[in-house]
Symmetry: C2
Subunit: 351 residues, 2 copies
């Protein structure tokens, strides 16, 4: 695979071809809404095991590639220098709910590296967790940057900058060494030259750089099949995967899909959600990576598509799928709690 894939995109878009329907939302006796997606399942050598839809399309990985963005934290020696724990590595890869445990761990980690909430450049937002929102409002506080779902990732960035004696201010800018190291790691592990890739700014202020979906999947495969990675990168990948597998709650939180799947099917997969319908997974037993993007950006589409891909690949076994029923095909409920429909794989989904 190479980034020549990006050039096939315009032809595909111009022809009006559409990615396959993969998720449907029913209500009563009818399908009410539908989600299309492209899905790549790729091994560490770049062999495409499955490619549904346009897997050459460039996609901003958003938070779904946080496990890749955490590589320099470990490779640089910063994690060892500051005794960064397994829990903290999981938080560096997290889009967390802003629940008390997430917030307090990030606060303590920041303090240990000689930083504070003032150094975080991600901005604040209300927690993703209703009870935490209510507690915050009742306390009369505003959500600081500690509550930002990316606060662990940003604390990882600050740790690396501190360790290497770089300015902490401006660490979110593309020109800063923190972001340049991430760009280099991304190019290497995804096997793609990103010099001319589309760019923008993420919700938390850091650069987003478009990676062909198939290359993103290869990067996720290389987190769990590290044979061809440089030794320091291979070691870092192993620690990242292990940390996510050991601390699913810290990667997301209460009632979150990432956390539930990792909790329930154990060590077979680490997975990570991203904004605008991106999802990635690294399959430990199979040595494969998955990357998917829902055309319309819907999170519900991405979750249910990922669940179905994992079933298709046998990573979620039939008996496990039964146990996960309401997570894999969640009910739609009305305001009094009555089930009015389901989010589920499309009848005509290719997987």
């Amino acid at each position: 695979m190479s980034n020549s894939h990006t050039e096939s995109r315009s032809a595909s878009a111009a022809s009006g071809s559409a990615n396959p329907l993969v998720v449907e939302v029913t209500r009563g006796s009818m399908v009410e809404s539908r989600h299309r997606a492209a899905v790549a399942v790729v091994d560490a050598d770049g062999k495409v095991v499955h490619g549904w839809g346009d897997i050459a399309q460039p996609v901003y990985g958003r938070s779904a590639i946080k496990p890749l963005q955490a590589l320099p934290l470990i490779e640089s020696g910063a994690a060892d220098r500051y005794n960064v724990s397994v829990a903290e590595i999981a938080l560096a890869c997290a889009s967390h709910n802003g629940e008390p445990r997430h917030v307090e761990l990030v606060r303590a980690w920041l303090k240990r590296i000689g930083c504070s909430v003032e150094d975080l450049e991600c901005g604040g937002h209300m927690p993703y967790h209703d009870a935490s929102v209510e507690a915050l409002i009742r306390s009369g506080s505003k959500p600081t940057a500690l509550f930002n779902n990316c606060s662990g990732k940003h604390t990882g960035f600050l740790s690396t900058a501190r360790h290497l004696g770089e300015a902490t201010r401006g660490y979110i800018n593309l020109e800063h060494p923190v972001q340049q190291r991430i760009l280099g790691a991304l190019e290497q592990i995804c096997g793609v030259d990103l010099s001319d890739a589309a760019r923008g700014i993420d919700g938390c202020g850091i650069p987003v750089i478009a990676v062909p979906l198939g290359n993103m999947a290869m990067g996720m495969a290389r987190l769990v099949d590290t044979a061809k990675l440089p030794a320091a990168r291979a070691a870092a990948a192993k620690r990242i995967v292990e940390a996510m597998a050991q601390e699913p709650f810290l990667v997301a939180g209460t009632d979150r899909f990432c956390t539930q799947i990792m909790n329930d099917i154990g060590r077979k997969v680490v997975l990570k959600t991203g904004a605008e319908g991106v999802y990635t997974a690294s399959l430990r037993e199979l040595g494969l990576g998955v990357a998917l993007k829902v055309d319309d950006g819907a999170g519900r589409g991405a979750e249910i598509a990922m669940g179905q891909v994992l079933r298709h690949l046998g990573v979620i076994a039939p008996e496990e799928a039964g146990k996960l029923g309401d997570i894999l095909t969640p009910p739609v409920r009305n305001r009094v709690g009555r089930e009015t429909g389901r989010v589920k794989p499309s009848a005509g989904s290719p997987f």
Copy 2:
């Protein structure tokens, strides 16, 4: 038009044809997400002025057909019996924000018909308006059914039941005369036999009944071109349209698209959002109805598609479009308020 349209749906779906791309969400130098939709622009006689995508597809109108569901409130004489005000008629058509004015008006209306919040069967949910959520949480209260965005519609239903001496309990069920009257009004004004239509339950507990999108647009046209409606229905339609036009805030609320458009372009259009990417409009000067459905159910897609349709039809004039810039093509902002992209009509949109 007839409901034979519904039969063409399966063929269309099986052929894999996709509705056109109408809205795109950019980030930096790239389109990140895309929304497809079908859009029908139809006159009161059923003539299709524009039909983009599959306008024969059956669609649950959800809250976008509240103006049609309000017809029996007026036709039955309930509105006159209980001195239902212009503001209250607007609330009967509203998906309101649960701001204080919405909640207090509904409370007072309920009291006047001898009912209370206990009679509302819609369930409660947090207001759609952040400051109102915070005020509610700070007060230590839970959101009652008064805060439900549909509480005005339900109070209209209760008013009709009271006026006609029907049981108020169970007014949300399909078998109740309240819902049977609505079904009849819907069939007549949309010109379609719904005996075999797909059905389900809405978020607020009332029945949803699928109407071919083109017929839904015709129903919206007949609200403003009433020549061929029965006299009582024509009079009711005029009062409904006038109420929505006079009270845009009550139809939605602070920072809401429906309210902003009606506030800013005056009396040319009344429009109404619905869940799962449905939007309708009744164009007073042109005597046309618009109904659109975003395939994936995204509200951002529906709003921006509706704005573009109104521009295309000249209902939003070029100079008005300039004034409405950030409403018609809203910025996407990150957590510190920086603009990172835009939601806007697709480059290849057919309108």
